[in-house]
């Protein structure tokens, strides 16, 4: 049987499969992305920030992480094809603002910061955002996008959320340990 890690590797490859599907099935063009290359919407700098944030918020564990399922590419598609100009502008501004706050907290460029430094900076900012700091509403929004995009991918939905297409029955009381 394939190990978790091998399954994960397989999943990464299957993202390429998703764009192949797009070509024949009319699906959105979620092109595979890299933190060092601009997307259709995001600049190279924004893509680097978004990739780092996605990875820190939803890392690879025994299930795929946000990067494994190409959340940055998903959001690049969302901003290109779904958002209107006002949403795009607000999204850009909040990324910029976020970058500055994280830079302050990390004491330097966030995308280049050591793992532990970046993690600490984001943990701090996240706590403030969920503690009523209204200036960080943009971050909460972005976290929402990242999470929703993650669970809207096959890896996030099936592997992590255990989403099943046809449950076939309703059980209102399942003990979590079971």
């Amino acid at each position: 049987m394939a190990s978790r890690r091998e399954v994960l590797q397989g999943l990464i490859v299957s993202i390429g499969g998703a764009s192949a599907l797009a070509a024949c099935g009319g699906l959105p063009t979620v092109v595979s992305t890299s933190p060092t290359v601009a997307g259709r919407f995001y600049t190279r700098r924004e893509m680097a920030l978004l990739s780092r944030l996605s990875d820190l918020i939803i890392p690879r564990t025994e299930t795929p992480g946000a990067l494994d399922v190409n959340v940055p590419g998903y959001l690049d598609g969302l901003m290109s094809d779904w958002a209107n100009d006002a949403t795009r502008r607000a999204h850009r501004e909040s990324l910029l603002q976020l970058e500055r706050s994280l830079e302050q907290r990390a004491g330097g460029e966030f995308t280049l910061a050591e793992e532990s430094v970046a993690e600490r900076a984001l943990t701090e900012l996240d706590a403030a955002a969920f503690n009523g700091d209204d200036n960080l509403r943009g971050y909460r929004n972005l976290k929402g996008y990242i999470t929703r995009a993650y669970f809207a991918t096959e890896g996030g939905a099936v592997e992590e959320l255990k989403w099943v297409s046809v449950p076939g029955r309703w059980d209102p009381a399942v003990e979590i340990s079971s």
Binding site: A157, E160, W163, W170, A173
Partner: protein, 566 residues
């Protein structure tokens, strides 16, 4: 010689039932549907997995602004990239609200109408609902009583399939039930605490038109049990929830007596003054603009309450200069809906180690009306029911603190359970609340636009204020924390999508449009069995009643035909 025995205008919730009942009695029936055909294999999207719809399945923002501002503004949760084809484009189907008012006319034009997109909450009206107008003097007395409609409720429920539990409540009589979707633990706790603290209040599982123990008749129509997927607003390839397309239209089709023509916009009904009968309908083809006339011995209007009233108003003749069957001047008046905008939610502890399996479709709980029934002397007339439920916060779309593995795995634990309830209140009939034909503006087929003028009364406002307080009190006795209850903000008229009353039934031809059989007082072979006939709105979701009255009216009309009376 007429082209058909009967014409049914509209293939939605009520039209499907009229067509089924008429064809099963041997009549040759023409159903005219203004929208395009829905082909389940092609147009249902319930089999798409989440990752097969682009952009979180959201319709592009610019597209919403251009085509769906009203529809989306009214029912954002139902209008997805994969379901938008079930909704009209506002720019293609405009209407007007009178100065100082607003109106949500939320709809889809296609085979089966809104029975494709409805939420399937299914309740009988109770004895008190048929007596309310007489008792408090609002509106006109219903010419029928609860007992008259009981056999028709039973017939319709047996056919469509309703999941629910018998509760023995006089004000919300039990239906013919298939097994209910069981309440969650938090819902059971809410039920026991609320029922103890408020002895006249009850919490029951929502009654929904889903098959959970398919009958032989349902299986024969290709219907099977609900698979708990909650993909219903996409259509259902299991045909497990009731829609005209999943049930009544196939039943009509298999009789061999049904003809259905799509893209046929009925503009007016032909009236023959010499015989005082309607003889047919005039139609414009939505695509070719070609005009046609179809004739029949009896006509059923099932285009929905607003559209049917407009068809009558558009059908002017020397005998009926103000619109067909409108001697009473009540056509288009007394337009009602239900009113929401009051409720509460809160967190319930004690269930953090519990989650659910499967996705229960539609609502969880229903709190039947108690106001002015088990609890008297309220500062308002009539009452409301609550829809609601309790579910684990679970995947809160990222709106929980934390990052990394802990954040990710927080989505596996169900987390605290949120209980929420929202009121659906009765709206009093008022002749000044009406839809008329706009004097100047027309749609692309030359039909006058609908002009709405609907306002709430103090009764609705006071009722909802009280409903909000009651909701908070119930969550408090249930021990909820973090109780949230926004100030009452009444939904726009029409927003509950239960529009009705525009050709009310009543005993007196001078004050009502229809008699107790949904038959026009003025014209014996004209029947209207969509929500137009409703003399009051009650507070229950109405579609079951539309279907029961449709079946009853057909039985009556076919009897009259057989006796040669129409």
């Amino acid at each position: 010689m007429a082209d058909f025995d009967a014409i049914v205008v509209g293939s939605g919730m009520s039209g499907g039932m009229s067509a089924k009942e008429l064809t099963e009695r041997g009549l040759k029936v023409l159903v005219l549907e203004r929208g395009p055909e829905i082909v389940p294999e092609r147009d249902y999207t319930d089999q798409l997995a989440p990752w097969q719809s682009p952009n979180l399945d959201s319709v592009a923002q610019d597209e919403i602004a251009e085509h769906y501002p009203t529809q989306y503004g009214g029912v954002a949760y139902a209008i997805k990239e994969s379901t938008k084809h079930f909704w009209v484009k506002d720019d293609e189907h405009p209407y007007v609200a009178a100065e100082g008012t607003s109106y949500d006319w939320l709809r889809g034009y296609h085979t089966a109408g809104r029975s494709i997109m409805w939420s399937r909450q299914t309740y009988r009206m109770g004895p008190q609902d048929f007596e309310a107008n007489k008792q408090d003097g609002n509106g006109v007395d219903w010419p029928v009583r609860y007992a008259d409609i009981v056999p028709w409720y039973e017939k319709v429920e047996t056919f469509i399939g309703v999941a629910g539990t018998a509760a023995g409540l006089p004000q919300l009589p039990d239906s013919v039930f298939q097994p209910a979707f069981e309440l969650t633990g938090a819902e059971k706790a809410l039920k026991s605490k609320v029922e103890t603290a408020f002895p006249g209040r009850n919490i029951i599982p929502a009654r929904i038109a889903h098959i959970t123990a398919a009958t032989a008749e349902q299986r024969a129509l290709g219907r099977s049990n609900c698979q708990a997927r909650n993909r219903c607003e996409h259509g259902c390839t299991f045909k497990a929830y009731f829609s005209s397309l999943n049930a009544t239209l196939p039943a009509a089709e298999r009789t061999g007596n049904l003809t259905i023509i799509h893209n046929a916009i009925v503009q007016s009904v032909e009236y023959d003054a010499a015989s005082n009968r309607v003889s047919g309908v005039r139609v414009v083809d939505a695509q070719s603009n070609e005009k046609r006339l179809y004739t029949a011995r009896v006509i059923f209007l099932n285009a929905s309450a607003i559209a049917s009233a407009m068809i009558l108003l558009q059908s002017k003749s020397a005998t009926f200069p103000n619109g067909l069957a409108n001697r009473s001047d009540q056509v288009g008046r007394n337009l009602m809906d239900h009113v929401s905008g009051a409720g509460a939610n809160g967190l319930m502890s004690g269930f953090d180690n519990m989650k659910v399996f499967g996705r229960r479709p539609s609502g969880g709980i229903y709190i039947p009306r108690y106001a002015n029934i088990t609890e008297k002397n309220k500062p308002y007339l009539r009452g409301f029911g609550y829809q609601g439920g309790a579910r684990p916060l679970g995947n809160a779309n990222g709106q929980i603190p934390g990052i990394g593995q802990a954040f990710k795995e927080a989505h596996r634990t169900a987390g605290p359970w949120r209980v929420s309830v929202g009121a659906f209140g009765e709206q009093l009939p008022n002749p000044n609340n009406r839809v008329t034909l706009h004097a100047a503006r027309r749609d692309r087929w030359g039909n006058p636009l609908a002009l709405f003028d609907v306002r709430y009364s103090d009764n609705e406002r006071i009722m909802l204020e009280e409903a909000r307080k009651d909701a908070v009190a119930m969550l408090e006795v249930a021990g909820c924390s973090n109780i949230n209850s926004s100030p009452v903000n009444l939904t726009r008229p029409g927003n509950r999508i239960h529009e009705m009353g525009s050709a009310r039934m009543g005993r007196d031809p001078t004050t009502s449009v229809l008699n107790g059989w949904c038959q026009a007082h003025d014209i014996p072979n004209l029947f209207i069995t969509d929500g137009s006939f409703m003399a009051s709105s009650a507070c229950q979701n109405p579609s079951l009643s539309y279907m029961a009255f449709s079946a009853r009216a057909v039985d009556y009309a076919v009897g009259l035909l057989a006796e040669g009376k129409i």
